[in-house]
């Protein structure tokens, strides 16, 4: 198995598998960025950095 040329180092996943996981990470980052941006805006409006 270790000499399967489709498996890429260092994870042992194939390229499409690795790309799929990476796509989920990118999607997740986008969702979290959007949500945290909105949450920070609301938090600032409620109390501007706990002044």
């Amino acid at each position: 198995m270790s000499d399967d040329p489709t498996k890429v180092w260092p994870t042992g996943l194939t390229l499409p598998e690795a790309e799929e996981i990476h796509r989920h990470i990118i999607d997740g980052t986008r969702i979290f960025a959007l949500v945290s941006l909105a949450a920070h805006l609301m938090a600032y409006m409620f109390t501007p950095w706990l002044k």
């Binding site: 000499d3 909105a38 949450a39 409006m45």
Partner: protein
């Protein structure tokens, strides 16, 4: 170091990772023929997170927004009904998970994960947007639409997340459980939903007793973290990787059916539409008076507050008995639609008992009726979900479970809203005419009885074909015991 030894080390590292890696990766080893109870219990944790989110939306935040934050009841009503918009999309989500093209060979995990993240995002945003919605702190100067938009967005996210997680989670449970143990799985899923709701209701109540904005942020964001934790534990190593899902699609991309085609195929098979109609009527019947039981006990039967709160517990305990009995009987290969119709048959006298308890001034009769309503709802819900799982075409499990969930969640939401409207309208009319104050409640109970008859009528043809339909294996010596 030479290039040779470097590549040799790489080889070793890859080998090591391939051997040790799977232990640290969320993949199941293989599809096991039977699902051990421990793994099943773990899978059912996603229902706890769904129950927690439901209680937070419908119960805790409903009260907090009105009482502690002073938001108008109409605005709260709009916010709370927003997640319902996503209920009909459950069928589409289920379909998408059926046909998901994944190199990793996963169909359900990506959707449950995405649902979990969306629910987390909604909960993370929720407390701040509620505080701004209420115009607390220095947000009073800000335009009102910002708070409304933020809160609406947060409620939409939580709703979308929980519908996605639950639909695809149930589809995954169906994939994993062999037909004969599906009744057990359904029972467990319902019980865990109930457990999640009860435990988190108590916990939220206790944590928010000493209310402050900071405490609200802590509790809701804590719920967001709990969502991620519960769902990751639930999901870990559950779905076996089957690269053929992805491979087959890649090989023949033209064969991928559209949602409309898949739906047409699903609707043509095995009286699917009739089953959904029966589910809709029955669910409406059993949920229309959900929020009217406590006020009825207080206003009409003059029960003290502590006792009316116990009514909700009575309803839940009745439900637990229903799930338990249904799991036992259906586990022996009984027809799930027969079970669902027994549920409706229990519901009819139960609602009659609720109506009769006012003229006889019998709170005990009301309590018994409430327990029987819970019991009937338990049998009905278990029966329809088990039937959906048993009859789901192998390649359309997600669509079948999604359609059931869409009908069930939409019917329940619609029924609660309609119940409130009918009660208000009839109570107003009765007050104007000087009629009995129980009239408004009785009108709702009477509609529920009519809906139960409608559900029974819809299920009759399904019963006659029961032996062929059940899909469960014929009872064997071991199963009958």
């Amino acid at each position: 170091m030479s290039g040779m030894s470097q590549s040799g080390m790489r080889q070793k590292a890859v080998l090591f990772l391939l051997q040790a890696g799977p232990r640290f990766l969320p993949f199941a080893d293989a599809a096991t023929p039977d699902l051990p109870l421990g793994r099943l219990l773990r899978l059912s944790l996603f229902q706890v997170s769904v129950g927690m989110a439901l209680v937070l939306l419908v119960g805790t935040l409903n009260r907090v927004m009105i009482v502690e934050l002073g938001v108008s009841a109409a605005l709260v009503g709009v916010m709370i009904s927003l997640p319902l918009i996503f209920a009909p999309f459950r069928a589409l989500i289920g379909f998408r998970s059926d046909t998901h093209n994944s190199a990793l060979g996963w169909r359900r995990v990506p959707f449950i994960w995405r649902g979990t993240m969306i629910q987390f995002g909604g909960l993370a945003l929720m407390p701040f947007s509620l505080l701004v919605l209420a115009g607390g702190g220095e947000s009073a100067d800000a335009p009102a639409w910002i708070g409304q938009l933020g809160a609406g967005f947060a409620f939409l996210l939580v709703g979308a997340g929980l519908h996605m997680t639950q639909t695809v989670g149930l589809a995954l449970a169906t994939d994993l459980a062999p037909v004969e143990s599906q009744p057990k799985v359904v029972g467990l899923m319902y019980v865990m939903l109930l457990v999640g709701m009860v435990v988190s209701a108590l916990l939220f109540g206790w944590l928010l007793a000493d209310f402050s904005p900071l405490r609200l942020v802590q509790v809701i964001q804590g719920a967001a973290m709990a969502t991620i934790a519960l769902n990751v534990v639930a999901l870990w190593k559950q779905e076996p990787r089957k690269p053929r899902y992805g491979a087959a699609v890649a090989a023949a991309p033209a064969k991928q059916p559209s949602f409309v085609e898949a739906w047409a195929h699903f609707a043509a098979g095995d009286r699917a539409i009739r089953r959904l109609i029966a589910t809709g009527f029955g669910t409406m019947a059993f949920s229309m008076s959900d929020v009217l039981l406590e006020p009825y006990g207080g206003q009409i039967l003059h029960m003290p507050v502590g006792t009316t709160t116990a009514l909700t517990a009575t309803l839940a305990i009745g439900g637990l008995f229903g799930f338990g009995l249904a799991s036992r009987v259906l586990g022996r290969g009984a027809d799930p639609f027969r079970m669902a119709s027994y549920g409706a048959l229990v519901g009819i006298p139960a609602y009659l008992a609720l109506i009769a308890s006012a003229p006889f001034d019998a709170p005990v009769l009301f309590g018994l009726g409430t327990a029987a309503v819970g019991f009937g709802a338990g049998l009905f819900g278990h029966g329809t979900l088990t039937a959906t799982m048993n009859l789901a075409p192998k390649s359309q499990t997600g669509l079948a479970l999604g359609a059931w969930g869409a009908v069930q969640a939409s019917a329940a939401g619609l029924a609660v809203a309609l119940g409130g409207i009918v009660y208000e309208a009839v109570a107003w009319f009765a007050a104007a005419r000087g009629l009995d104050p129980a009239t408004g409640y009785n009108a709702v109970y009477a509609i529920e009885i009519a809906l139960l008859f409608a559900a029974l009528l819809a299920m009759l043809p399904l019963l006659r074909r029961a032996p062929a339909l059940a899909g469960a294996p014929p009872p064997t010596g071991a199963a009958v015991s």
